[in-house]
Symmetry: D3
Subunit: 252 residues, 6 copies
Amino acid sequence: MTSATTPVRQGRAADALRTVRVTRGYTMHAEGSVLIAFGDTKVLCTASVEEKVPPHKRGSGEGWVTAEYGMLPRATHTRSDREAARGKQSGRTQEIQRLIGRSLRAVFDLSKLGERTIHLDCDVLQADGGTRTAAITGAFVAAQDAVAKLLAVGKLQASPITGQVAAISVGIVGGVPLLDLEYVEDVACDTDMNVVMTGAGSFVEVQGTAEGVAFTRAEMDQLLALAEKGIAELVALQTAALAEPLPTKGAA
Amino acid sequence: MTSATTPVRQGRAADALRTVRVTRGYTMHAEGSVLIAFGDTKVLCTASVEEKVPPHKRGSGEGWVTAEYGMLPRATHTRSDREAARGKQSGRTQEIQRLIGRSLRAVFDLSKLGERTIHLDCDVLQADGGTRTAAITGAFVAAQDAVAKLLAVGKLQASPITGQVAAISVGIVGGVPLLDLEYVEDVACDTDMNVVMTGAGSFVEVQGTAEGVAFTRAEMDQLLALAEKGIAELVALQTAALAEPLPTKGAA
Amino acid sequence: MTSATTPVRQGRAADALRTVRVTRGYTMHAEGSVLIAFGDTKVLCTASVEEKVPPHKRGSGEGWVTAEYGMLPRATHTRSDREAARGKQSGRTQEIQRLIGRSLRAVFDLSKLGERTIHLDCDVLQADGGTRTAAITGAFVAAQDAVAKLLAVGKLQASPITGQVAAISVGIVGGVPLLDLEYVEDVACDTDMNVVMTGAGSFVEVQGTAEGVAFTRAEMDQLLALAEKGIAELVALQTAALAEPLPTKGAA
Amino acid sequence: MTSATTPVRQGRAADALRTVRVTRGYTMHAEGSVLIAFGDTKVLCTASVEEKVPPHKRGSGEGWVTAEYGMLPRATHTRSDREAARGKQSGRTQEIQRLIGRSLRAVFDLSKLGERTIHLDCDVLQADGGTRTAAITGAFVAAQDAVAKLLAVGKLQASPITGQVAAISVGIVGGVPLLDLEYVEDVACDTDMNVVMTGAGSFVEVQGTAEGVAFTRAEMDQLLALAEKGIAELVALQTAALAEPLPTKGAA
Amino acid sequence: MTSATTPVRQGRAADALRTVRVTRGYTMHAEGSVLIAFGDTKVLCTASVEEKVPPHKRGSGEGWVTAEYGMLPRATHTRSDREAARGKQSGRTQEIQRLIGRSLRAVFDLSKLGERTIHLDCDVLQADGGTRTAAITGAFVAAQDAVAKLLAVGKLQASPITGQVAAISVGIVGGVPLLDLEYVEDVACDTDMNVVMTGAGSFVEVQGTAEGVAFTRAEMDQLLALAEKGIAELVALQTAALAEPLPTKGAA
Amino acid sequence: MTSATTPVRQGRAADALRTVRVTRGYTMHAEGSVLIAFGDTKVLCTASVEEKVPPHKRGSGEGWVTAEYGMLPRATHTRSDREAARGKQSGRTQEIQRLIGRSLRAVFDLSKLGERTIHLDCDVLQADGGTRTAAITGAFVAAQDAVAKLLAVGKLQASPITGQVAAISVGIVGGVPLLDLEYVEDVACDTDMNVVMTGAGSFVEVQGTAEGVAFTRAEMDQLLALAEKGIAELVALQTAALAEPLPTKGAA
């Protein structure tokens, strides 16, 4: 693993994140609304509070945190069909939204949320690789803003959030382990791994896939180290974004 | 009808549009990509060119222009279900996307487009009334940008666009005819009318609905006059926006 | 505008309705059952009373009026797919049934209906243009019969119906404004407008569409005048039909 | 079995059909269009010719005959949901339309139909028991009219129809075997059997169901004898109806 | 009818069943779990007890018995689409599961079951003709085992089962009436009849279909006699299987 | 990590697999048909060869390998809804079948398969934890049998299979890392990881999820070591099973 610039990415080190931009208060209605950019990947993450829970939580005294994911038809290089028009969400969409939901629940103490639901909607406005990791990283910030509102109006006395959570992709392209894959890298990679970690440095999810050649244990160790580095940086960026005052009007 | 400020809108005249903002090149992949804002209503309109046509146009030598409309779940005051998750588009969604498609086709000479399709995707990021009229007005600009690209690369020799098209809502609230209804006005109005007109001042669509009391012919005349004023302004705004150079990188 | 016979219609004046026939008690189970014919267009409109309301009205003390629309597969020149077999209603079907529902609610005081629903089912047995306007005009008569039964059995003390409602199409064919378009005229027209009005002469809905060339304000005025004439006649025909005794056995 | 009037049916003998009425040319667009009434049960059966076949028959030189069945929402005592709105056909609907299709194909030599499809649409306008048997009996007449048109215009040289087909229900109510059950009898019966036979007196389908007590072989023999009697009468009624000239204009 | 070996089946008499094998306790979770084999046709029938009833039975004090049927994609000679992936059950599947449900309810006194449901799931692991008759015959054994458990734990004081039920197919192949058709016989047959009978020898369902030539009354009598013979044997096999002790661990 | 018996599993060491049983030729129609048991988890894996490819491979000269997964309704402790009846596959089902497909494709050289598809259907007859890992391990054996048939009949000259693939679950329960989780362990675990590896010891997929507390890098290393041990054993079991002669008749 090297931090020198590699042929596969223009002027970016193999272990460098793309420029990450977090814009809170992006739209005005949601309790939390964040536009997160990982380079040219841009995802709008909103957190909506609903004062009821799904059937499996009713009467439990506990809350629920869930996520949905979508991609605007022309977020991608060529237009993809609108899932609402096709009448069903793809397997990929369902896999991603289940991943986002599990990742966020990992830092929630649901017993402290009360019988309410936080819906995290992650909609990709522009895609250039890493949409699910951007979504998780942005959804955490949106969830934090929504919880802050519940605390501010006295609906909650203490935060149910137990820590930060962020996600990044890593992969091996042409034998070189890379952090935060762009679309062209994602297409070319042999191994692709999405890693979700807490602010404390523990793993929430690890999903590694050999797209081409199977990968060795040594390669896996390299990828995990890259991911740990990237997530530490993302956690710091979340902290910095949340330290700023929330814009009073939608920023879109 | 009066242009004086009325109680129902803060500091805005009854015959005044909200601040309209048109941002071209909002996302980077689409052939045309426009974020249009009518006050706090914000709609992302993309135009995607596909080099084939639907079955009813195959072999005709003609092209096709079609539209889809969506609303992000938390574009609204309270979260609405995601249509892709519910597995079907609502009647309202279908009505709106059919309206956008017809409106845009009204200014296209399909025989000059060649056997290709322009897909207009209008996705509401933030809603505050008038999403369908903003969508039509923005979709025209996106379509124009897409056609400009087809001309630039030589796929078209002459533009198939025969004129401009824009849309606005008008309504009667508490007896006062108003131009460009915001959400609170839309909810309170007795009569709501969406008007689509060409740059030349002719009508493409008129859809008036008495939500409460049925409306008289005299009221209808007042509303049509308001709409004519508003659309003339929108057409000028479209022209101005299209006169500027297109940003080279996504603006989102 | 002229009432002289024009080339486009055989022996019928430009401002003349087709022969309208209203048959009450057409089927025997429904609380109201009307076969309405606008020339060769024949629509069976039934009104069914259900002693409960949809969720958004529960506990409100108010009732609800709603409509569904369907077309038998071979009501048309060539067979169209059965929507039940395809598994979804088309956008056109949904648009029409939403229009019928809004139009009928415009003459109902829902607070006087009690917590019950009137379902209006409009099924086209034979189509020759103007199915939605025939449906609205016939559905009003069926609704009136259903309300009469509720009054007769003492479930209602006073009628919740506040006035009559009827609908007609108008259009411009070959430059000539015409009332009540038949199928061949509908296909050929530049502008098509459906107008729904109350018995008192106010507008409930106006839906005008330029199928070809956009239409001018002057043309719109001509079309609205034609519609006003036609609807006055339809309202009189409804009144006459309702003045007759209801057949005791299904007339089908 | 007795032909004396029984308590369960007013003035009708146990082995008597209800009044059967066959109206050809009921609607004007279909190649065959028949309204058939078995007492208060009224079914509109249309036959539509399409000049292509489904995939499993393509290139075979053979044609296809298929059926669809529907019930208007208020054909019944209490309104039932519209299948198109629910988004799927019930198991009962599918069972019936498969039965109608098989029954009609039993009297078609598909190799003589050419590569075309006859669609039989059976839509129940009013239901009072026996809708599927009325549908089969009426669909045969509609199919015959459609074939006559194909012969008349020279698309067929010889009829692909090899015989007549008709259907009737029989059942045991309170121990009494009855022919042609009305709704109240159908609800009360222990055993319900639908029998489809050719004009030549052979069986095409026998579907007997014990709704209450299982039935004996002796009871089955009684029911089959009743069915044979009823179908012979229906076949004669079909023949008589087809001997009359076809009305030139829709009779609805 | 003859019991001599016929050319169509290798070494099996025309009136002979295939080897029938009943394995109780096939899987371990279900209250009743039976693998039934009719020759190479193998169906897993499970009976699951649920302590609630569907809406139409709520508050009635009565229980419900219902069935679902499925075929593994490669139970058949060539792979068929998975119904779960296609998003709907075929008409054939629905017809069969409705038949199984009715057949089992024929031997249940629902008023003695209490407000609970017995779900019978019949999944075909391997198909070689006669899957629906094997399913009914096996589902009865599974239901019996489930009821025995309810009695054993004291949830029921008396059995709601009023008798045995079994089913068999019969058909005419090349003019020869045959019992228990295998797949190759089923494909070749002119007439196919499925017969469901009680242990007492009465008919629950008779479903005969002429696939080719319509069948005569005499042929029907021959087929019914064959079915009576076969079902008497199946009923004895059920009795014998139920007389053995239930395996304690899943046999799969 | 210890191989001593832990309190959570009766008599099984923490690093021990359950008894694994592989039955080839389980059903008779499929080109490959394997019942695999991991203890009480039993999955039927069939491999079906189809002589065409999906659209994205047409004309490529390459083949395709794909998988579908299902669970019989009563494979589980309490009955779950049948996906075919509900009309859609759950997100979980789609996730699993995508995983199986990717895992098998990792050991296929699609360019050597020719333009044909191998469908792997994995249906769970009985579930007790680890259904997806049993499915992958069994599907490999079924695929091998199907390829052997293609070689035997000369449709393939060389095997497109490049190595073995197997899968196992590992997890941490009460602080103890365990191999091959049973259902009760799966429910109780803090961390659950599914690992797919080749016969050569490289990773194809790693999917780790913290169900409760996030896991550390050290714990991850322990889990990966356990998985490596288990998969080496599974690969040996696959090899042994494939060394035996294939039964000539379905074993079910």
